[in-house]
């Protein structure tokens, strides 16, 4: 973006950046808790899942496959396909996670789409403090929202009525715009979006996003 290094950004900047999203994340946590309760999962199972998996789309997928009469194997497969993108995403932040392996292991768990995007500083650089601040904020919102939903979700309403499902693409749009000032990055973004859209009707959820990562091969350096 610009040549001067950005001012030192701290964990609390990550918390601040994630705060508006935390509201939307919590609302979806509420609906996860509520739907899981309605599927007969009780209150403990949805909270345990949010605390250990911490990946909304995969959790909703598990719930809907099992709820729709699918097998456990099908539910696990579709959820893990949705989360496969965290393989390449984890590799991008890996150089910035220093410290012993237990700390890298724990910090890696705070990576979700939103915290990763907030931590991105362009040109493949990531700020680990932003990642941790944003990740912890979103984790608290997700698990807290799930608990609220599992215990008294009925009173809180449907997040789609509040338009919260539109908050996520808007966030990712806001985060991708500063990253596409260069022609090659813009080309990768357009190609990634095109691949994903083309594949949505053809393959299971999760696969379009993984396939879109092929667009970054535009960056292969010729030896």
């Amino acid at each position: 973006m610009d040549a001067s290094p950005p001012a030192e950004r701290r964990r609390r900047d990550g918390v601040r950046a994630a705060a508006p999203l935390a509201v939307a994340v919590a609302a979806f946590g509420v609906s996860f808790g509520l739907l899981a309760r309605a599927e007969g999962w009780g209150w403990a199972a949805p909270i345990v899942m949010s605390a250990t998996t911490f990946a909304g789309s995969a959790q909703f997928a598990t719930l809907s496959v099992l709820g729709g009469g699918g097998t456990v194997a099908a539910a696990i497969t579709s959820a893990l396909l949705l989360n496969a993108r965290y393989g390449p995403i984890g590799a991008t932040v890996a150089p910035y996670l220093t410290g012993p392996s237990w700390s890298r292991f724990l910090h890696a768990q705070l990576v979700v789409d939103e915290s990763w995007a907030i931590a991105a500083e362009g040109h493949g650089r990531y700020n680990p403090r932003m990642l941790i601040g944003a990740g912890l904020t979103l984790y608290a919102a997700w698990v807290g929202g799930t608990a609220l939903g599992a215990f008294f979700g009925e009173v809180l309403g449907d997040p789609e009525t509040l338009g919260l499902d539109a908050a996520f693409p808007a966030l990712f749009l806001a985060l991708v715009v500063p990253q596409v000032r260069e022609r090659r990055a813009l080309a990768a973004a357009l190609l990634g979006a095109a691949i994903a859209v083309a594949l949505v009707p053809l393959v299971p959820a999760g696969v379009p996003i993984i396939a879109a990562t092929a667009a970054c091969l535009l960056g292969v350096r010729r030896a």
């Binding site: 508006p20 998996t53 808007a170 292969v220």
Partner: protein
């Protein structure tokens, strides 16, 4: 019920492992030179794909609905250099309003 717990355990363990893979394998070390060009483009490619799928996707179909109104309003807010909080709120509010009125 047991199916649910089995799913929760397997998805949880699988996700934890996937997330940990990169940072455990090459944490704290710069990526190989040849990969840096590719990794630089991963964020734009993946973020744009997330925008597209979350604005248009619904299970295994493309659906044009109120989310696009929100995304259009967010684009205007971005173009006017609004802060991120405003962009996100504008998107949710215009989508909610469209759902209420149409």
């Amino acid at each position: 019920m047991n199916d649910a717990w089995l799913g929760i355990a397997a998805v949880g363990l699988g996700t934890v492992a996937i997330k940990a893979l990169g940072p455990i394998a090459f944490g704290g070390r710069p990526l190989p030179e040849r990969l840096t060009g590719v990794v630089e483009l991963l964020a734009p490619a993946l973020l744009a794909a997330l925008v597209a799928v979350q604005a248009l996707g619904a299970e295994r179909a493309l659906v044009v609905d109120e989310r696009l109104i929100g995304l259009a309003a967010a684009s205007v807010a971005l173009w006017r250099k609004a802060p991120m909080l405003v962009v996100v709120v504008v998107a949710a509010a215009s989508t909610a309003l469209t759902r209420l009125l149409v």
